[in-house]
Symmetry: C2
Subunit: 275 residues, 2 copies
């Protein structure tokens, strides 16, 4: 049996009792390292905290392993209990759905233990979840690569008065361009997009396209470290949010659509007190 266990958003104490029971009975425990683990209080001694809580050794499955070598983990799960721990909810990332598909093709039984993910915990900012349209991802622009399909989606959502959750780029264990050329992988340091960068890029695209889907007066909510003790939420215009220091990753951004009374009251609580 393969147990895919969501760890939630904060730290080691956000696992569920059901999840903890699964982990404790497994012969082997893997944890995904590449999507957002560095933000999960695991930078320093987080992994040993998890190991202490679970009473188990944990094998870190980095990006290469999850994408290229998952079959070994699935092989083990054919005749023993294996846990695969993921930050947030198991179905938050496409990669994890892929593992479910491969497991079923191999005849491995799969059980999923759900947990909070940014997709529902974003409700914390006060905007009602059923008033969100399509979620978008904002990638780091480079000098030669400036995809802006997210902008059209924001425009479509706005047309119906809907809010847009923007997930911001995470780059962990990306091979450097030079190392790819030489055939030996050397990795870039991890890089997390800040709310400030996301807003700069959004305003750049708006200027390029000459459409005012977003402008400096657009109301947004910046959310850092959602679900953790140090969570920071600030609601303000793009102009003002651009200068706010949100601190450590992960960051995400909501572009506000039409709001109801209660939503406005919640946004008031998160109004920018610095300006």
């Amino acid at each position: 049996m393969l147990y895919i266990v969501g760890l939630g958003l904060g730290d080691e104490r956000d696992i569920t009792i059901r999840g903890l029971d699964c982990v404790r009975k497994c012969a082997k425990v893997y944890i995904e390292a590449y999507t957002s683990l560095l933000s999960f209080g695991l930078a320093a001694n987080g992994l040993s905290k998890l190991e202490e809580l679970y009473g188990k050794e944990i094998i870190v499955a980095d990006r290469e392993m999850v994408e290229e070598k998952a079959d070994r983990m699935l092989d083990e799960a054919l005749d023993s209990d294996v846990a695969f721990l993921v930050v947030g909810d198991p179905f938050g990332a496409t990669t994890h759905t892929d593992i479910v598909v491969r497991a079923r093709q191999m005849g491995v039984n799969v059980k999923v233990v759900h947990n909070a993910s940014v997709m529902n915990a974003i409700g914390a900012c006060g905007l009602q979840l059923y008033r969100y349209g399509e979620t978008v991802s904002i990638p780091f622009f480079t000098e030669t690569w400036r995809p802006d399909s997210f902008y059209v989606k924001i425009k479509n959502n706005k047309q119906f008065g809907l809010h847009t959750l923007c997930l911001l780029d995470i780059r962990v264990k990306e091979p450097t361009f030079e190392s790819l050329c030489r055939g030996k992988k050397v990795y870039e340091p991890p890089k997390f997009m800040t709310i400030n960068t996301a807003i700069e890029q959004l305003l750049d695209v708006a200027a390029d396209r000459g459409e005012s889907v977003c402008n400096e007066d657009t109301l947004c909510v910046g959310i850092a470290r959602l679900g953790s003790d140090s969570q920071k939420i600030v609601a303000d215009t793009m102009r003002n949010l651009r200068g706010v220091d949100f601190g450590d990753p992960l960051h995400c951004l909501v572009i506000v659509g039409e709001t109801h009374d209660m939503e406005n009251q919640m946004l008031d609580f998160y109004g920018n007190k610095q300006g």
Copy 2:
């Protein structure tokens, strides 16, 4: 301090360690009874299971209390630790956001403990969360009341190739019409919309409006008891799903938009094996 603690979707074991720690240190523990608690394995002896796990007496806060008498709970939270337990995630329901707003207005500190909700656990059906449009609610039709605003939203989502999550009506502790006339409340038995009824209503609206946003060939996924051990997921056309017995509540329904390869593979796993 008021701790609003999400219980997740399955049973008492879906609380997080963080949530359990909060509950155990609180002087008083309330649980919301009216949105979906009857589906939470709490029909029979569920409440005593929770009390046993927490080592605390739990006060059931029914619909009237949450909507009319929440101030008492908030008063207590001004100078002691109070837990308010909710099924799913604290921000899944508008009512809970309202409590946060009232708490802040009264100067009560609030901490939220997140958990899985239908809004993210729906990923279990294999359709990627970032490919969903606006979520809709489908209410029970009566002879004189047939609102169909959900239909327009499904149409808008389809236009962009997006999936639609349909939340199905729950009626718990609704006063009977006769009792309202007499001024003394007598309640209707609880009523949960099935996937079958939702599909009937959707096809009725489609016929009324003469628009083929949904028809008997529309691909859907029916999900019952999401996140619990008895979870049932079936993907098929409306014609075929209409006759499937999904069993006990809660049910929800996804209307499938454009799909990618991996989504198709997941839907294949959930294909209707009865037909």
